[in-house]
């Protein structure tokens, strides 16, 4: 019985390399089968958008309002009030827009995917796909992950826009700030990098959340209870991945 063929246990680095290598091969194989995943991409993008836009905009609106009020409180006359525009703009574009949207979607999109794929797993639909000679990674994972990578930045961009607008309306109506002053502040430290930094982060969060949903879904076992358990795990994993990636991008890109 050729079960224990390796005489020496490979070390941790070797195992990590093997693991990463295998995942890369799996991903490349899945991506190569364009004919299988392409028809599902647009429906998945549409579904993700419909699922996420309302909650993302809801969060963004309140974040914009709070940030405007908060910056007034922080500045307390020591800093010119038009800096409100700078603070609202920068924090929403670079941090709160992508991260809060990402966390909210980890709950919505990640849970949705994990429950759907998990149910397919426990009802043998994933096995059925394989017996029909489809690669489940191509059929299920690739369109969902690509939809996440493409749609998270779009949704985040909308959220950023609405957050800034909410901050502006708040500033004008509650902080005695004119539109001109708010815009002056907004432009003050603005760099083009701010916005793409936020959107790149959003794309990576999209990949993390959808991948967590798919992987936890595919790893589901044990009926309805298993689906529930792995759905929760997918949300937790998605959120953790977002926070780690957030720190990673701050280190690498700033």
């Amino acid at each position: 019985m050729p079960i224990f063929t390796t005489a020496v246990e490979p070390g941790l680095p070797a195992r990590v390399v093997t693991r990463v290598g295998r995942s890369a091969v799996t991903a490349a194989r899945a991506l190569a089968d364009v004919r299988t995943w392409l028809p599902h991409l647009v429906p998945q993008m549409r579904r993700l958008g419909v699922d996420s836009v309302p909650i993302a905009l809801f969060i963004a609106t309140f974040t914009g309002i709070v940030l405007a009020l908060l910056s007034k409180y922080i500045f307390t006359g020591a800093v010119p009030l038009y800096f409100v525009g700078a603070l609202v703009g920068k924090t929403i574009m670079m941090e709160l827009g992508p991260v809060l949207t990402g966390l909210a979607l980890a709950g919505r999109v990640g849970a949705n995917i994990a429950a759907e794929v998990g149910t397919m797993r426990v009802t043998e639909q994933v096995d059925a796909l394989e017996t029909l000679a489809y690669n489940p990674n191509s059929y299920l994972v690739v369109p969902r992950v690509l939809a996440g990578v493409l749609m998270f930045p779009v949704i985040t961009a909308l959220a950023i826009l609405l957050g800034v607008v909410a901050g502006w309306i708040t500033a004008v109506n509650l902080l005695d700030l004119s539109t001109l002053e708010f815009v002056k502040g907004l432009k003050l430290f603005y760099k083009f990098k701010d916005i793409w930094f936020g959107l790149i982060k959003a794309a990576s969060f999209g990949a993390a959340v959808t991948l967590a949903g798919c992987l936890m879904g595919l790893r589901t076992s044990g009926g309805a209870e298993g689906v529930g358990r792995n759905t929760t795990r997918a949300v937790v994993l998605g959120c953790e991945a977002i926070l780690v990636l957030d720190a990673f991008w701050a280190l690498v890109l700033l």
């Binding site: 019985m1 009802t123 043998e124 639909q125 096995d127 059925a128 394989e130 017996t131």
Partner: protein
């Protein structure tokens, strides 16, 4: 021909297959019987490479399943239809789309695909059901669609996982009839996993009993019915049964 040779499979500490050896000849229906949870489904999944053995081999027409490249495995799966226990229909797709999926993968042209869908639904007595959704169907109808999805591909082999479990006797008889028809009209080799003895006698040419991870006895229906193995006898007669109460030599 499908051939299991000394197949071992365990999940964690739980040994499921423990030296399974069985030949499944072409042109017949071989029924695998056994208690729930003995590994009948696990054995079937080895044939299409959904599971790989820890040791031993499963061969289909001389090809060792777990050694095939992904492309070769895809080709092998094209020759084998799999009817899942609870049908495993894609619930987001209509009946027609469920059947279409496998056909589209073969690169058939649209006219052929349409014809095959209609033909296979007619064969399972569900003509015109293309537009319905799995959620609207009864358990028996879902099973029939599952069978249609498998036979639409004109496979050389069809594997049926508990095709009649949980169905009423009349619906079970219908499903049995379909399995017989698939063999007679399409000439497919069948492997049927079941613990429904009536079904086993109706559709089977040979019966193999899986017990404690290996084949306890295999033979024609007449041979199985005349068995003097107490384990097999108790099982086919549906008698309550305590393996510890058997004479020692009988459990060996």
């Amino acid at each position: 021909m499908i051939r299991f040779t000394d197949v071992h499979k365990r999940f964690g500490p739980k040994v499921v297959l423990d030296g399974l050896t069985l030949d499944i000849p072409d042109g017949q229906t071989t029924v695998i019987i056994g208690f729930s949870g003995t590994g009948k489904s696990v054995a079937l999944k080895h044939i299409v490479g959904l599971l790989a053995p820890d040791a031993g081999t499963v061969e289909v027409d001389g090809r060792v399943v777990h050694e095939l490249s992904p492309d070769a495995l895809g080709a092998l799966r094209g020759e084998i239809g799999y009817v899942f226990q609870f049908a495993a229909l894609f619930d987001s797709l209509s009946v027609g789309a469920n059947i279409r999926l496998g056909l589209a993968r073969r690169g058939l042209d649209e006219a052929t695909i349409q014809a095959r869908i209609a033909e296979s639904l007619a064969l399972v007595d569900l003509p015109g059901a293309e537009a319905r959704f799995p959620a609207e169907l009864s358990g028996g109808m879902r099973k029939r669609v599952g069978i249609a999805r498998a036979i639409a591909l004109r496979p050389r082999y069809i594997l049926y996982d508990e095709p009649t479990t949980g169905l009423d006797p009349v619906t079970s008889a219908v499903i049995d009839g379909l399995m017989v028809r698939a063999r007679q009209e399409l000439g497919t080799t069948g492997v049927v996993v079941t613990h429904d003895m009536r079904s086993a006698y109706t559709v089977g040419d040979r019966i193999a009993m899986l017990y404690q991870g290996r084949i306890r006895q295999v033979g024609t229906i007449a041979e199985i019915q005349a068995t003097d193995d107490p384990v097999v006898r108790n099982f086919i007669e549906g008698r309550p049964f305590d393996p510890d109460a058997l004479p020692v030599e009988a459990t060996a």
